[in-house]
């Protein structure tokens, strides 16, 4: 990091830290039980008692949003990590091994990349049946191939660098070559891409939940909350605004972090954003 973290990266990181804190403290600081229905307080506008109003069953929207953070963000983090680890391992394998393994791995990757990203996630979720778990696995299954290709490309270019070649000439091989020469070069672009991809995962997972494939009622997941709110768009627009804003702000934080890191680490290449 040449210039330290920029303003954009700091803002993004601070927003993400705040989100993570809220997600962890969720049940402790939420004013009400997010699952308790109260039909005498249906679709109430925001008030002191219910800061973000109540939903169609009279549940406190603010509490649902706070508690929902751990589902929405937790699932996205898990899916993102799963895709990264699986994809990066395959990418490293392809980048470090001989042409035959590389060609085989990349064929597999090309096959997975032949499907538009969200479609693969949709189908896998559909096959496994609706639940937060299957959405998580579906999104990870849609994401690993991008990582594999990205990491393979990085590895190949890292290996072609002069000092890596020199290291190989003097006999540095295998794990030592990987640890001392390759991995340090991969870290900055992988960090930037991971930040971007986590943003994508949040959108994908809450999107699949919006379609009813993810967290099932009464779980207060953000995408599912949006889905429930759309019938009351005219009567209670606050129901639609809050969860959408929560998703957008989190993704914005991820994007700002990525942008700031990219500037700070002088990365010129744009990590392309996957559909």
């Amino acid at each position: 990091m040449s210039r330290g973290m920029g303003k954009s990266a700091k803002t993004g990181a601070a927003m993400l830290a705040l989100m993570a804190l809220l997600a962890m403290l969720g049940p402790l600081i939420s004013p009400h039980d997010p699952l308790r229905t109260n039909l005498s307080h249906r679709l109430e506008a925001p008030s002191l008692e219910y800061p973000l109003g109540t939903d169609r069953l009279g549940r406190c929207q603010a509490s649902r949003l706070l508690v929902g953070a751990r589902y929405s963000l937790g699932a996205a983090m898990a899916a993102s990590a799963l895709a990264l680890v699986a994809g990066a391992c395959l990418g490293l394998l392809a980048g470090m091994s001989g042409p035959r393994t590389e060609s085989l791995t990349m064929r597999l990757v090309d096959m997975a990349l032949a499907f538009p990203g969200l479609i693969l996630a949709l189908v896998i979720t559909g096959v496994m049946g609706p639940s937060l778990w299957s959405v998580c696995l579906g999104a990870a299954a849609a994401g690993w191939a991008w990582w594999a290709r990205f990491v393979r490309g990085l590895t190949a270019s890292a290996r072609s660098r002069g000092f890596v070649r020199a290291g190989r000439v003097v006999g540095v091989r295998g794990p030592a070559l990987l640890r001392r020469y390759i991995l340090p070069q991969l870290t900055p672009p992988v960090l930037v891409a991971a930040s971007l991809k986590t943003g994508w995962m949040i959108i994908a997972i809450s999107g699949l939940s919006y379609l009813g494939l993810g967290a099932q009622p009464p779980t207060p997941e953000w995408g599912a909350m949006l889905q429930e709110s759309r019938l009351y768009m005219t009567r209670a627009p606050w129901l639609m605004l809050a969860p959408g804003l929560a998703v957008s702000l989190t993704v914005l934080a991820c994007n700002m972090l990525a942008e700031g890191l990219r500037d700070a680490m002088d990365l010129t290449q744009d990590a392309e954003v996957q559909p």
Partner: protein, 321 residues
């Protein structure tokens, strides 16, 4: 997206063939990965009680007891002759069900593409022209925000503002061109922002090249240089993204079409998942993947046409290897 076969034209076509093969295998696998026995589903759809003997007979008749590779080949043969089976829910041939859906989605994608093309062009050109000054900063803030909006929420917001409050655009469904406006913007905004950013940095990069200085030295006016020399070169990295863009749209169509009740492939995909309508889902997935990889191939060919250096690179590589 060059695979490992090399990036020459022949390698690219070979990669396309491999992708087709992969897509067909994965799509075929869907039918036995999906829960529920196809024979049972078919019987239910005919309102017959699925008694075991009947199911077994039908399974045999449908070839479900054959080895997997035989099932694959016969499925492939049927698919190639456009026999995609019958829908579990309507009992209609799947091909009849998806054809109008295909056109609806293509219409939406085309409208969205027109929007994103001009929006990204404007954002990129203005951003580059006012580099690091107020309009550029504003556009950059706008683009990073647009990239962070989930499409289902953006769709709902647009519906809320334009259709329910201002009442200037129709709420949902298909109809005249005004029905296209909101879903097309919803589908294209994020990608437009992304491409605007790429175009901006690409324009800035090209403007610093010697051939642009040389064009100035020829006495050409700034607008002429922008149109003839800068944009043409700066568009190349954007065009590379067009294939990916279509993938983004097709994937996004599942949500956008659901939000706006647009009767296209995406909505059909979401519906068929909820209804466990495997033949329809299979057909939609196959079609979307087919559109996606074909579009990627076309984009690749287009690039070769626009950038003569690629063809030379290929020739050089094939001489070396």
């Amino acid at each position: 997206m060059p695979g490992i076969t090399g990036s020459g034209l022949a390698g690219r076509l070979l990669g396309y063939a491999f992708s087709l093969l992969g897509v067909s295998i994965i799509t075929f696998c869907l039918s036995w990965m999906a829960p529920g026995d196809p024979a049972e589903m078919l019987l239910q759809q005919r309102h017959q009680a699925p008694d075991p003997a009947q199911v077994a007979a039908l399974r045999h008749q449908m070839g479900l007891d054959d080895p997997l590779w035989m099932q694959y080949l016969s499925w492939l043969g049927r698919t190639l002759s456009l026999d995609l089976g019958t829908s579990y829910t309507t009992g209609q041939p799947v091909i009849d069900e998806i054809t109008p859906r295909f056109w609806a989605t293509m219409q939406l994608a085309a409208a969205s593409f027109v929007f994103l093309f001009f929006a990204s062009l404007a954002a990129g050109v203005i951003g580059a022209a006012f580099r690091e000054r107020f309009p550029d900063r504003l556009i950059r803030a706008g683009t990073i925000l647009s990239m962070s909006l989930p499409n289902y929420w953006l769709g709902l917001l647009l519906l809320w503002v334009f259709a329910l409050h201002l009442r200037i655009l129709p709420v949902m469904g298909m109809g005249g061109p005004e029905h296209l406006v909101l879903p097309a913007i919803t589908m294209g905004l994020g990608v437009a922002a992304m491409q605007g950013r790429v175009l901006r940095s690409s324009i800035i990069d090209i403007q610093g090249r010697d051939f642009i200085r040389f064009a100035r030295g020829k006495g050409l006016g700034p607008w002429r240089i922008m149109r003839r020399h800068v944009l043409k070169n700066a568009m190349l990295p954007v065009i590379t993204m067009w294939g990916l863009t279509l993938g983004h749209m097709l994937g996004g169509s599942v949500i956008v079409e659901t939000v706006f009740a647009w009767p296209g492939l995406g909505q059909l995909a979401a519906q068929s998942i909820q209804q466990r309508n495997v033949p329809v889902l299979q057909a939609v997935v196959l079609l979307m993947a087919l559109i996606f990889i074909t579009a990627n191939l076309l984009v690749d060919l287009l690039q070769r046409r626009l950038d003569p250096r690629i063809a030379r690179e290929d020739a050089r590589r094939s001489l070396e290897s």
